[in-house]
């Protein structure tokens, strides 16, 4: 292991944020960004578990073509709740609210986020939203699909849509607060000497994601509120029977929900930008290009929403414009992939678990991104829109990309968060299992989609069974790959090796403080004198106290 070179056995600091205070009150009323991050970590893991349970049920149902396990009604609720849980209660908060919450103040050398109370409020809103989503489940479940398309959602289904949507609205406000906190913190609280050009790329990408959160989320809040007004009070906005336009809902919904994809993936890209240089012992290749590609993604991401609607009855000309812009948004992502690859060139590459996840991200996100070009291509999208091709594509981006980055980041900063190392052998094994299971689950779905299997089908023609069986088999392997880390992370809390301040000998201010850090992060305000990713010059930490 890379920590083998350390001569003195590292010891836990005497006082740190975890033992600063005890008792349930000290957690539930904490204003410490690190404790809030831990609260988030526990809660999003819980929702990931629930979302994963729905996913397993979906894959079980699709083992056979004839809907033997669940009635279509139940199946519809399963995929709706899977989507809502995973998108709003796992993917959107995942990296920003846990790793980002923990790291951004540390990375900019601040003692907390700009608004610690709002940060805590954000967690409470998230939890309240989560409770509403569970309430919707216990009052029968919702069967609108996570996209809530009108007029189905506003006028036709008889399930507790209002409860679920209210939960999503609350989670949306929590997301806005997190975004607000990040933006103000990055602008106002950077340590002396930490110029924008010296910011870690993780901060850049979370900053870009935060911009989308505060600009986009209000729109989905308005959209869903209008839908609820129509459902509850028959105010005609989307339902043509009341004089509305159903396609308007899609425009408004995707105006947020497409940029939301970048809320999910940008922080993941930020993680990869930290991992690849560290495990290549090299500066990141083309820092400026990687940093500004995040901003470019955030900006272009706002003008591609109608590529979800190429067969929804939009005009030929708007389809052309949105197709062109969708191709444009692919370029900054490609630039990132090329830069990470080039970072490894002439490096000193070692394959610890975080790096394995980073490499998996690069491979899977490349496939996810490139298959996005299929969907951006107008004439081809007509055939594969709303088929399993789309399902495979966005799972390659969301699970293959985002979840993989999240796992990589969690392993990388686990010693900083808990002060202890995870067991490397088990972690490498589970990374491998995730990679194999993931590809087996989702690759066959590309073929299924091109063959014409539509999404959201509880039953399907028998000729599609082969690929569905492969996919379900893959899902069971994938499940193992996600359960293993849950076990060894918990194990490591007590039995893990003590990590020391900087087990990876990584650069960045977060590694200059103790692991776990003290409540106020730094004993003295750090002063930054060098650029980011100062690898190789000397193995000392690039900070003067």
């Amino acid at each position: 292991m890379s920590t083998a070179v350390i001569t003195r056995k590292p010891v836990m600091p005497e006082k740190h944020y975890l033992n600063d205070n005890y008792g349930i009150r000290s957690w539930l009323l904490t204003k410490d960004h690190k404790r809030i991050a831990v609260l988030y970590l526990v809660s999003i893991s819980f929702f990931f578990l629930i979302g994963g349970f729905y996913a397993s049920m979906i894959r079980l149902q699709l083992l056979t073509p004839t809907a033997e396990l669940f009635q279509p009604d139940t199946y519809n609720k399963l995929f709706t709740m899977h989507g809502v849980n995973m998108v709003f209660f796992f993917l959107i908060p995942s990296i920003p609210a846990t790793i980002g919450n923990f790291l951004i103040p540390l990375m900019v050398g601040a003692k907390d986020l700009a608004f610690p109370k709002i940060n805590l409020l954000s967690w409470y809103l998230y939890m309240a939203g989560g409770c509403f989503s569970l309430a919707a489940l216990f009052s029968g479940g919702v069967d609108t699909g996570w996209t809530f398309y009108t007029p189905l959602s506003s006028g036709f289904v008889h399930t507790p849509v209002v409860i679920l949507v209210f939960g999503v609205l609350l989670a949306g406000f929590s997301s806005i607060f997190t975004g607000l906190n990040f933006i103000v913190t990055v602008h106002r609280m950077r340590a002396p000497g930490l110029t924008w050009g010296r910011l870690p790329l993780f901060v850049w990408s979370n900053y870009a994601a935060a911009l989308i959160m505060i600009l986009g989320t209000p729109v989905v809040a308005i959209t869903l509120s209008l839908m609820i007004l129509e459902r509850g009070f028959h105010i005609g906005i989307f339902d043509p029977k009341l004089g509305g336009d159903p396609v308007l809902f899609q425009h408004m919904f995707w105006f947020y929900s497409h940029p939301a994809v970048y809320i999910m993936i940008l922080p993941g890209m930020g993680v990869i930008s930290e991992l690849v240089p560290c495990f290549s012992r090299k500066r990141v290749f083309g820092y400026t290009f990687v940093a500004f590609s995040s901003i470019a993604i955030a900006v272009f991401g706002f003008v591609v929403w109608a590529h979800h609607m190429f067969v929804a009855g939009i005009s030929l000309y708007s389809a052309l414009v949105f197709s062109l812009l969708s191709f444009a948004v692919a370029i900054p992502s490609a630039v990132k992939i090329f830069n990470w690859t080039a970072t490894m060139y002439k490096g000193s590459v070692s394959l610890e678990t975080p790096m394995l996840y980073a490499l998996a991200f690069m491979g899977l996100f490349t496939i996810g991104g490139l298959t996005g070009l299929f969907l951006a291509s107008l004439g081809l999208d007509v055939h594969i829109h709303d088929t399993y091709f789309v399902v495979a594509h966005f799972h390659y981006v969301m699970v293959g990309g985002m979840v993989t980055a999240y796992m990589g980041g969690l392993h990388f900063w686990w010693p900083k968060i808990t002060g202890r190392m995870y067991p490397e052998g088990a972690a490498k094994l589970s990374a491998l299992i995730v990679f194999i299971g993931f590809n087996l689950t989702f690759f066959p779905q590309f073929i299924l989609g091109y063959l014409g299997m539509p999404r959201r089908y509880a039953a399907y023609p028998p000729e599609f069974q082969v690929f569905n069986v492969l996919s379900s088999a893959g899902a069971s392997i994938l499940a193992v790959g996600f359960i293993l880390p849950a076990i060894y992370f918990l194990w490591s809390l007590k039995y893990g090796e003590v990590a020391g301040d900087n087990p990876w000998k990584a650069t960045g201010l977060e590694w200059t403080t103790t692991s776990p850090p003290p409540t106020h992060n730094f004993h003295e305000t750090p002063v930054v004198t060098t650029g980011p990713y100062h690898y190789g010059v000397d193995e000392e930490v690039p900070v003067v106290h």
Binding site: K282, V311, F338, L373, V382
Partner: protein, 351 residues
Amino acid sequence: MQPNVPLFPEQASSVAAHVDNFYLFLVLITTFFSLLIALLILFFIIKYRKTPERQAVQIHGSTLLEIVWTVIPLGISMVMFVWGAVLYYHLQRPPAGAMEIYAVGKQWMWKFQHPGGQREINALHVPTGRPIRVTLISQDVIHDLFVPAFRVKMDVLPNRYTYVWFTPTQVGTYHLFCSQYCGTNHSGMVGEVTVMKPQDYAEWLASGKAEGSLASQGEKLFQEFGCITCHRPDSGARGPNLQGLYGRPVRLTDNRVVIADDNYIRESILQPNAKIVNGFQPIMPTFQGVISEEGLIQITEYLKHLGEQESQPLNNRTTPTQLRDTEVPSIQQELEKQPGNKPAQQPGKKP
């Protein structure tokens, strides 16, 4: 189960092969770039693996390389854009003289009507070798008509007509799916498209029970609902004359000019006050919830034929119901200048 698992759906329409070729091109590009990245990564982790002897060489970046890997993907993606756009343009423009079929989607069933009045449920019979345009409407939520073997798909909206067209090329039976999630029995909203040789199709049409053509059924409705009492071809009529109206430009009270196409006629029956023809009062009652979607289609078919039957010149009367024939060419020029105002591609804006 077949031992031979196919990777493509059958190619049963004129566009299928074009779509597949484009798809293969994209698969090729994707494979190339995925392999490029994967092999580079593999090569780097082997060649530059961590050893005690060697230190990493620090490289800041290269603007030239950044330009190269921005411009090349941009160039390739522009090829994709243009190719995809050309295909889409083709798919969005039914050729003139296409055979007309009407589809009504409802939870959870497809209802098809042929112009001769033959009806089918969850099944569609079509001949080979002719372009066929299907006019789509939903009577409840949004559905989507998808025939993988034809590589075509179109959302079916509850508030206006959309269209999908194809030219079947291969006799056989193919899946027909609803591919926009539409509630409980979405996965049961499936059917079969049967492609037949033209003479078989003619026989099939002849054997089908029909209560007269769509137009004649529409005429019956026109009488039944009393449309004829106001929409008369005489100067004292309270409603605009509908003779020869279909497909013609109409001037509204606010001086806008719209084409009297399917969507205009449907809207004018369901929401008569949405677009009032110049010179008339907003006195028509709504027929929302009174006439079924099938009925609306039949009335529209009737109005189409109303112009053809009478060979008299259009608008030979003095009331400002419609535009004079002499006015038509200049207005058509005016319309052509406005993008998106084509009959096949209504932007669906309400005043």
